[in-house]
């Protein structure tokens, strides 16, 4: 599924960031790259707050839509 579909409080594991994303390199350099686990902390409008390790990232649905993830239990 896509990160943009993840629910608040859901833990996910990142599969990959699709290369069509214009911010592909930056998204990965900021911590959202394959095999990383993350938690969706909150959502506000089109924005979502995600925690990856000790890093908190706020990203819009347009970018989250390019990030493929697996839900974690």
């Amino acid at each position: 599924m896509r990160l943009s579909d993840a629910l608040q409080g859901q833990r996910i594991k990142i599969v990959k960031v699709r290369e069509e994303c214009a911010l592909h390199a930056k998204v990965q350099a900021m911590g959202l790259h394959s095999a990383r686990e993350a938690t969706v902390l909150s959502r506000s409008g089109r924005m979502m707050l995600v925690e990856v390790g000790n890093v908190r990232l706020a990203l819009s649905d347009e970018i989250a839509g390019y990030v493929e993830v697996h839900p974690q239990l």
């Binding site: 930056k26 911590g31 394959s34 089109r46 924005m47 890093v55 990203l59």
Partner: protein, 456 residues
């Protein structure tokens, strides 16, 4: 290599919010200077220090996450590293978030420039139970790492001998771990088959796992608790309005006594002295009044607002360095979207209330040229304290009974015209949807006041 053999040019590079400027201020002291990169609206912070007969020149590069830039300041940092070829790179990393910071470290290492790493914010890392094996880090990467605390200054002076050693020995990073037979590293050999970025990410992760130890149980972060309130859809907005109210109230209340004193000093003292002196030398009354009332009085009227401008700048810098301002784009994006703008537009527009010049400069963090131009066109309508001088003058002169209301009305009119300008430009010229947004929310920190003072 420097033209002068006793000079070392050091580029301070790292992710945003790692404390690069604070370290520069600690190292350079009174030589810390803020200017502009040529031809662009991005601040350039420099300084130098004399150490063991060497002049070490330091340049603080804008923060970046990758050497593939998207924004103006990222391009400046990348271009400086590629074109200027500094003698040494001082890679400042945020130790509590070392794993992510190492992504850039690997890219910087590929430049083949001698490198030293400042493991900054060690106090915070220790509170989180994070420890770094600097010896193993050096063995695996060829990078000398020095634990530092920019706020207290701990470890900062140790950077200088490390920089000098790296320069004299031409100690380039080796990234030796990809040849290591350690089972943990063996997987990274497969990384060589992947694209360049995946390979770099693999190396960074491997390096992190090899050198960092972390205790299982950690105290809840203060930032997480504060975010539950300040980023709440309802509470967060209430807090924002309260903070903005306090911002203006403290600015005006704190600066009012200073403004009154300045007014009294300039008009009641300097102006009187000038008038008396001119009368004594027999100057015509027109000249006396022109100098004392028009020149000194007029310039003085503007100067009286300097305390207000200084306080507003100080508070805006405090808000920025505390980490709160970085959260505003997330909090207010859904409102900005209704105006066809990106949440990142909030910060330059807010800065415009302090001064339009740094507000325009702040648009450098916006990736989309469309959004950037829209915000730049809006900023002139955000009324800064200098405009308050004019508003006050006219309001007091023509509406003495309702001066405060008239001034507020002018401020509000400026905001309305700014929004109207944005909507008009979007219909006429910039018809595309506002761009995507990706930002990091740094942890909340107490600002380092000496650095704030220098920046203000």
């Amino acid at each position: 290599m420097s033209e002068n053999g006793r000079t070392v040019r050091v580029a301070i590079a790292g992710n945003p919010n790692t404390g690069k400027t604070t370290l520069l201020n600690r190292l350079a002291g009174s030589t810390f200077a803020v200017g502009n990169w040529p031809g662009v609206t991005v601040e350039r912070k420099t300084g130098f220090v004399q150490f063991q007969g060497w002049r070490i020149e330091l340049v603080d590069l804008p923060g970046l996450y990758t050497l593939e830039p998207l924004t103006e300041d990222e391009r400046i940092a990348r271009d400086y590293l590629l074109n200027e070829r500094p003698d040494v790179i001082l890679n400042v990393v945020e130790t509590p978030r070392l794993e992510r910071n190492l992504n850039l470290t690997v890219e910087l290492a590929e430049l083949g420039i001698p490198m030293v790493m400042a493991l900054n914010m060690m106090d915070e890392a220790q509170r989180l139970g994070i420890s770094v094996d600097v010896g193993k880090l050096y063995a695996l990467s060829g990078i000398r790492a020095i634990p530092t605390n920019g706020r207290s200054g701990q470890g900062v002076r140790e950077l200088l001998p490390a920089i000098l050693e790296a320069h004299q020995r031409q100690q380039r990073p080796t990234l030796a771990l990809i040849h290591d037979e350690d089972p943990l590293m063996a997987n990274l050999r497969a990384a060589a088959e992947l694209d360049a970025q995946s390979r770099r990410l693999g190396i960074a992760e491997g390096l992190y796992r090899a050198v960092v130890q972390r205790r299982e149980a950690q105290a809840r972060e203060f930032s997480a608790a504060l975010d539950r309130v300040l980023l709440h859809p309802v509470l967060g907005l209430v807090a924002y309005l309260a903070i903005m109210y306090l911002f203006f109230k403290v600015s005006f209340d704190f600066s009012a006594p200073l403004m009154d004193w300045l007014d009294g000093f300039i008009n009641g003292y300097v102006g009187q002295i000038a008038a008396t002196a001119l009368m004594q030398i027999g100057a015509p009354e027109l000249v006396v009044r022109f100098m004392s009332e028009a020149v000194i009085g007029g310039v003085g009227f503007a100067l009286t607002f300097l305390p207000l401008i200084a306080v507003m700048f100080f508070l805006l810098t405090l808000l920025g360095m505390s980490g709160y301002m970085a959260r505003l784009p997330f909090l207010l994006d859904r409102f900005m979207r209704h105006l066809g703008l990106n949440g990142k537009a909030v910060i330059p527009l807010l800065l415009g209330l302090g001064c339009n010049v740094p507000a325009v400069m702040a648009t450098r963090t916006m990736e989309s040229p469309r959004d950037k131009l829209l915000v730049v066109m809006m900023i002139p309508f955000m009324s800064c304290p200098a405009r308050l001088v004019i508003f006050s003058f006219f309001a007091t002169l023509f509406f003495p009974q309702n001066a405060a209301l008239v001034i507020f009305g002018m401020y509000a009119l400026g905001v309305v015209v700014a929004l109207f300008t944005s909507l008009l430009l979007q219909r006429a010229l910039f018809k595309h949807e506002s761009s995507a947004m990706l930002i990091e929310l740094p942890p909340y920190r107490l600002p380092h006041l000496p650095t704030v003072g220098v920046i203000v």
